[in-house]
Symmetry: C3
Subunit: 281 residues, 3 copies
Amino acid sequence: MSIADHELSGLLVKVQKLKPLVHNITNVVVTNFTANGLYALGASPVMAYAPEEVADMAKIAGAVVLNIGTLSSEQVEAMIIAGLSANRHGVPVLLDPVGAGATQFRTDSALKILREVKVSLVRGNASEIAHLVGEAREIKGVDVGESGSDAAANIELAIRASQELGTVIVITGKEDIITDGDSYRIISGGDALLTQVTGTGCLLTSVLGAFAAIEDDILQAGTAGLAFYGAAASRAAERTAEVGPGSFQIAFLDELAKLHPHSLKGHAAVKEFVTRKVEEV
Amino acid sequence: MSIADHELSGLLVKVQKLKPLVHNITNVVVTNFTANGLYALGASPVMAYAPEEVADMAKIAGAVVLNIGTLSSEQVEAMIIAGLSANRHGVPVLLDPVGAGATQFRTDSALKILREVKVSLVRGNASEIAHLVGEAREIKGVDVGESGSDAAANIELAIRASQELGTVIVITGKEDIITDGDSYRIISGGDALLTQVTGTGCLLTSVLGAFAAIEDDILQAGTAGLAFYGAAASRAAERTAEVGPGSFQIAFLDELAKLHPHSLKGHAAVKEFVTRKVEEV
Amino acid sequence: MSIADHELSGLLVKVQKLKPLVHNITNVVVTNFTANGLYALGASPVMAYAPEEVADMAKIAGAVVLNIGTLSSEQVEAMIIAGLSANRHGVPVLLDPVGAGATQFRTDSALKILREVKVSLVRGNASEIAHLVGEAREIKGVDVGESGSDAAANIELAIRASQELGTVIVITGKEDIITDGDSYRIISGGDALLTQVTGTGCLLTSVLGAFAAIEDDILQAGTAGLAFYGAAASRAAERTAEVGPGSFQIAFLDELAKLHPHSLKGHAAVKEFVTRKVEEV
């Protein structure tokens, strides 16, 4: 079943109108790009890391996004303080487990956050998500594979992770998967150029935070965020694929700022499925 | 009374010729943009944060810029060490109280710096400056309001803050205000696109640092910095307003590098007033 | 003697094919640009700083790049842990002693790393390298001078530093010098616009890391990295010299992504000399 564009467009309009405050505790590689991407979308980014202030900031935010890309023990503690404050005040928390599996410290830190904080959505690539559920099988590379079997395996992984971790799971790759454990959706769009620019995954998680800030149905919020993000990337790639990743990065920010209710048309598509009944991939 | 362009142009030429070293202790969101903006202007940026070296770096700098955008207790201590070293060696210190009022920790940290270090100039939006002088009235949003009454209120706020804190105050918004408590100036120019790119306020404070490094009259230095910064933004917006904030950010760096003595013409204007006698707004 | 392009081109192809993982412990100003530059080149960047994980990350990397641009005592400790892990696992370590000489803390930290870790290549400007070997004579500015005598002095400095520190030395400036103490090479190319964009030196060191990851002969790897980096800069400058440093930065990332075996032609040249027998400068 396809989800009609107009069901998602209302959420974009809401983000642009309400300009939700997204509190990011993120890595040093992507801070500038994340802030500019959120501004371009129409949201209001804030970065605040000190344990003395993260609870206060999380409390007034529309969403809290935790990203372990250049984590430290102290930062993980601040993330937990921020996350618990968000939990107390009904603010959704999103987690980007960057590099989970690359080192034990990253895997352990991501799991510690998931144990102590109620997380509404986790976004990662297949390898990162697999490591969160202790999956031993080797994941080829860090992106969702192109073969049908890999796609099917990733859907299964996303559903299992969602059920085990009790959170909406997003696995990004050639196509993106989002699931709440009951149903799942496949979002196509985006462009391979996204993989040549650092922080496009991290910014996506923060963009999903902006949508989660204005829509309680996290599955629907995440679906809208994935679709519009992919549409902006697809439009930017049309203009810059021949030029290079530097120009793509700038065009992508421009396109995020130009998103409007009809931007999905021809640039992103969403299909919905009931869990365990894969109708089509 | 209008200030003639040529009174300000000499300061731009001096910055471009002397390439003053601006020592920034700033936030992780804007470091790259701040460094590139200072290079584009013709100044020499340096970022140094370790308590072991900040006094040495501040001593050889032309100006020290302290920015609490992603502060920590340790960083505030380093800022005070750097500020005191600058004070001892006659190097001007500028403060950007990012987010003062958003959390108590930010307000307290900004005030602590102002108590312990002699600061020559503070730049913020109306809300941030209001919180530094304990103003209880709610500030609408974070930018200078558009109505005449808001503009008048912000001028009053700037003058009061300047007199209470004993420093030149800059409040940026739709129009920019600078005052030393005795007279004030209103600088028009700039472009609303500045609010869609992260770090444009932070970079501005560092640019004011570059001008303060080459001119002892901080009111005049600040005026020149504000005017030329606004002119570069206005010129960049002419080229990119239809394209988007990504392209604007890049064009803005290009325009900073192209500034020359006649760049203000048609792109920025400065009016001067005597304190408490608002001739015109 | 000139080194033929085809001797270097094979290394570029190898980088693009093998996509080596380059583990950077670098400064907060240049992290985003470094990651995007490495992606554009075809390598795989990772930033990891926590003492709990740097040994694990260094072990699986193709090269480790240490950059003291915004160092702290804690970060220097992490660099040494990462460096020793790299040493144990045969992974080359590169050092960028940003600002050595500007403060004693930086000089001391760079020397501490050099004492405790086996470093394969150090890249800096003439002033930074001079301070590593305790050279008392004042270096004019931070770039290689333009006069013949400065060029000769810098060659001598590079050779002396290489012999004293037991590592390949790269001194960048108007022309770049690389030496293993036995022979040296002069690479021309690049563009003065590189000095108007922050992090171009830092990214270069990381690019040299990518080449060192796929070629054991560090002199040859470094030569190839310098030549292709200069060629990309030269090509980007052709397109953007009239526009400005903002546009140059983006075009440079685009050109790094377009590098191919014939990119050196007309845009970079390498000459080789035997130590102490300066044939021509």
